[in-house]
């Protein structure tokens, strides 16, 4: 074991002395993050929603380029030939190499996560699960890196092979382009790439249900990783003179390839290929959770049961498109329970982050109280104003659901950038003021901000005379979240009007 730890220690020290490796390993992944921040600096949820992809890119770079480049470079120099003269068995060096790379990738991931938190991302939902998922993702890609190092006779070959895997994984493998926006054939192909499972596993732990929701992805990553490491260890090449073409034992590549195929076929068999637009993990809980998560209530309390009332707690977000009847309301109603938002305190409201985009910006715009809509939009605004009081999603059900649905009337036009987007929030806000007491409205809105993932998304408000459907339900949720904060700011006097 002395050899393992000594080799691990020296390899780590040498890594941190290599400026190019540091640049590539730490700065390169941060560039993605910074680009993302520049695009969405006012919104916290999108960054969290993409951490799975960002972390996957960091692992991919470190494992599929960093590892084989170092390994093949040292092999070309004769370093490994010299190691081979020692009595240390191969597995010690392979284990040390894998561990070193894992630690390097982990540190890069932590830097990326730390930077994301620093620029305002909310804390991942399941940190421990995230670490374990990250470990499995690293294992999968390190195995792949070992196989690349085996196949490549020199460093340029590493770059070529790495790109052959990296780019398809980014484009049609579900890493850089969301699966939901890919054609079905690409979704089928992506099932054979570990990148898809990496994103699913990491994202599930960042903003989803943790391990519980990503078991298949974790299994797939483990299988791919073990097979890759096994093939990489069995085909390990000490000497640059051992060309791969002349190498015996090439059959050990079969387990590595078979693992990819098996995972894809298993996904096909279990019907895990097609990705519905609503199947993405929900947005996270907002920061500064002053109230405990709502207890799961099995049934919906009708609105007329208030006060007090309870909110439906749905197992997973779903899109209602076009607007369809809400889930079946149980009858008879349960005994009246205290609504989940009732525990919201003034302190919870005060601790919200009010740093939201300005009213005159592109994201979540809102007209001034006395601002008139332009002529060509006046009919739409008037239509909404006249119908909103009787709009079923805004009237049927408990207060929490109704208020959340009403927020979507402001959020949907904003999500799809309709011309009327800045005027409808004002209509909604006024309607809320007219319908609910200020104190209650503040509490409910605060609860929504703290639990943006709950409830169903309304992405179509054509019943109100505004045609258009928002494609991404998560964007609609984000905008509803932002409008909720803006409304609270007005209700509590933080914004004077």
């Amino acid at each position: 074991m002395n050899a393992l730890w000594a080799h691990l220690g020296v390899s780590l020290r040498l890594h941190f002395r290599n400026k190019m490796a540091l640049l590539y390993g730490y700065l390169f992944p941060l560039i993605f993050l910074v680009a993302f921040w520049v695009l969405y600096r006012h919104e916290k949820i999108p960054l969290l929603r993409h951490m799975g992809e960002l972390l996957t890119v960091a692992v991919l770079g470190g494992a599929c380029f960093g590892l084989p480049t170092t390994l093949v470079g040292e092999r070309e120099r004769g370093v490994w030939r010299r190691y081979r003269l020692s009595p240390v068995p191969t597995w010690v060096f392979v284990t040390s190499t894998v561990l070193v790379r894992y630690l390097i990738i982990l540190s890069a991931g932590l830097v990326q996560l730390g930077a994301a938190l620093a620029i305002g991302m909310t804390v991942p939902a399941h940190p421990l699960d995230l670490w374990l998922a990250f470990t499995l993702v690293s294992l999968a890609f390190i195995g792949l890196g070992l196989v690349i190092a085996t196949l490549a006779d020199n460093v340029p070959a590493v770059q070529a092979l790495g790109q052959c895997i990296f780019l398809p994984m980014l484009i049609i493998g579900g890493v850089a382009v969301q699966l939901a926006s890919l054609p079905l054939w690409a979704q089928h192909v992506s099932a054979f790439f570990p990148g898809r499972y990496a994103v699913e596993a990491l994202q599930g732990c960042v903003s989803g249900r943790g391990f519980g929701g990503v078991r298949f992805s974790l299994l797939a990553l483990g299988l791919v990783g073990v097979a890759g490491c096994l093939a990489g260890a069995k085909l390990f090449r000490w000497d640059a003179q051992q060309r791969f073409a002349m190498r015996s034992g090439k059959l050990w590549l079969i387990p590595a390839l078979a693992a990819w195929a098996a995972v894809g076929l298993l996904a096909e068999w279990r019907g895990r290929i097609a990705i519905a637009v609503d199947a993405e993990p929900p947005p996270p809980k907002a920061p500064a959770l002053a109230v405990p998560p709502a207890p799961p209530l099995p049934l919906v309390i009708p609105r007329d049961a208030t006060p007090p009332s309870a909110s439906p707690v749905l197992p997973a977000p779903a899109v209602v498109s076009p607007l369809v009847p809400m889930p079946v309301v149980a009858k008879p109603a349960l005994l009246p329970l205290e609504p989940v938002w009732a525990k919201i305190t003034a302190k919870d409201t005060a601790e919200l982050d009010y740093n939201v985009p300005p009213d005159h910006g592109i994201v979540s715009p809102m007209s001034a109280p006395d601002e008139e809509a332009e002529d060509f939009m006046k009919d739409q605004v008037q239509s909404v104003r006249s119908k909103i009081a009787s709009w079923p999603p805004g009237t049927d059900g408990d207060d929490l659901r109704c208020i959340r649905n009403l927020l979507y009337v402001a959020a949907v036009p904003d999500a799809i950038q309709m011309p009327v987007e800045r005027y409808l929030p004002r209509v909604v806000y006024q309607h809320l003021l007219d319908t609910y007491p200020k104190d209650k409205l503040t509490k409910v809105l605060t609860y929504i901000v703290l639990h943006p993932e709950e409830g169903m998304v309304v992405d179509d408000i054509s019943d109100l005379g505004v045609e258009g459907t928002a494609g991404d339900p998560l964007v609609v949720r984000e905008r509803a979240y932002l409008y909720a904060i803006k409304f609270i700011a007005r209700l509590t006097g933080r914004v004077k009007e």
């Binding site: 050899a3 080799h7 020296v10 040498l14 120099r77 003269l85 020692s86 009595p87 000497d239």
Partner: protein, 320 residues
């Protein structure tokens, strides 16, 4: 003394090329043994089979009393190796390298001792890419001693070094000899083999062609001394050829420089003086060089070398 290395009927083939064809030799404890041969002769393959870098096709290899084919790991515990080019990572320091390689063995020497012994103390914490060629090669030697080996393999350790660095390494090897180390040493430089080795083996085309001490080989090969002289005016070739004992006569284009071998050096030199006096030609320069290991080597490997390059051997790349 017990043999530290016994090689019997070693064979190794690469596809259609048989690199080693039945090589056999033994190295006694405390001996510095030179393995000589032109490029492609099979000496590196032989060494690589012994140190576990290659699997022989057939033959018996015993190293430090162990069957090297059955117990390669145990053999590696007992031997030290300095390859022709020991490459390490650019940013590793000699101290780190010695500590790292020391961790590979159950028995190890302290890095500080090796740094002192191989004159690397000043560079102990300097990155490898700041070390000179000689310092790197001394580090390679230090790494070979990191496990206090019973037997050291030095594979062309002086190739590519400048004369100063070569001289430093010769000193280090001489110290090993004084300390009673057993060393297997391959080299292109026959002069250093002659100076450093107790015994040598010459391999050509995968076969062992001679074994013995340099002196024994020179005596056995019956290679005669070489006479080289320069005159003030040219003398006809046939007149030189008529001098007693002259053979293998060679003259340069001007006829002013003459070289030949002689079996009877004294009688031949008397004849040369008589010839020059009779011709009225002055002797400008005269050199009588005894037979060297190089002569034996060339004789045995049937490789032609020009007399104008008396210090060169096959495979050398411009080093004096």
């Amino acid at each position: 003394m017990p043999a530290k290395v016994i090689v019997q009927n070693l064979h190794k083939r690469y596809d259609d090329f048989e690199a080693v064809r039945g090589v056999s030799f033994a190295i006694e404890e405390g001996e510095i043994f030179g393995l000589l041969g032109p490029n492609g002769a099979g000496k590196t393959t032989t060494v690589e089979c012994l140190i576990g870098l290659r699997e022989p096709d057939s033959g018996e290899l015993e190293v430090c009393g162990l069957d090297a084919r059955r117990y390669p790991r145990a053999v590696k515990e007992k031997i030290g190796v300095a390859l022709q080019s020991t490459s390490l990572q650019d940013k590793i320091t000699p101290r780190e390298a010695l500590r790292l390689f020391g961790s590979f063995y159950s028995r190890r020497e302290e890095p500080a001792v090796l740094l002192e012994r191989f004159a690397l103390v000043e560079k102990a914490d300097a990155a490898l890419d700041t070390l000179s060629g000689g310092q790197r090669q001394r580090l390679a030697l230090a790494l070979a001693f990191v496990n206090r080996p019973e037997l050291v393999f030095l594979d062309e350790p002086t190739t590519g070094l400048d004369p100063q660095a070569r001289r430093e390494l010769h000193g280090a090897i001489a110290e090993m000899k004084a300390a009673g180390c057993t060393v297997l040493f391959t080299t292109h430089y026959l002069d250093e083999a002659e100076a450093l080795c107790d015994r040598v083996a010459i391999i050509d085309q995968g076969r062992m062609v001679a074994t013995g001490s340099p002196r024994e080989l020179m005596a056995r090969a019956a290679v005669w001394p070489t006479v080289t002289l320069a005159t003030s005016r040219a003398v006809a070739r046939e007149r030189w050829a008529s001098v007693v004992g002259v053979s293998d006569l060679w003259m340069d284009a001007s006829g002013l420089t003459v070289q030949f071998r002689t079996e009877q050096a004294t009688a031949t030199l008397v004849g040369v003086v008589a010839l020059l006096s009779a011709s009225g030609v002055d002797l400008v320069d005269l050199e009588v060089k005894k037979a060297s290991l190089e002569d034996v080597f060339l004789n045995l490997t049937r490789t032609r070398a020009t007399a104008a390059k008396p210090a060169r051997v096959v495979g050398e790349e411009g080093h004096a």
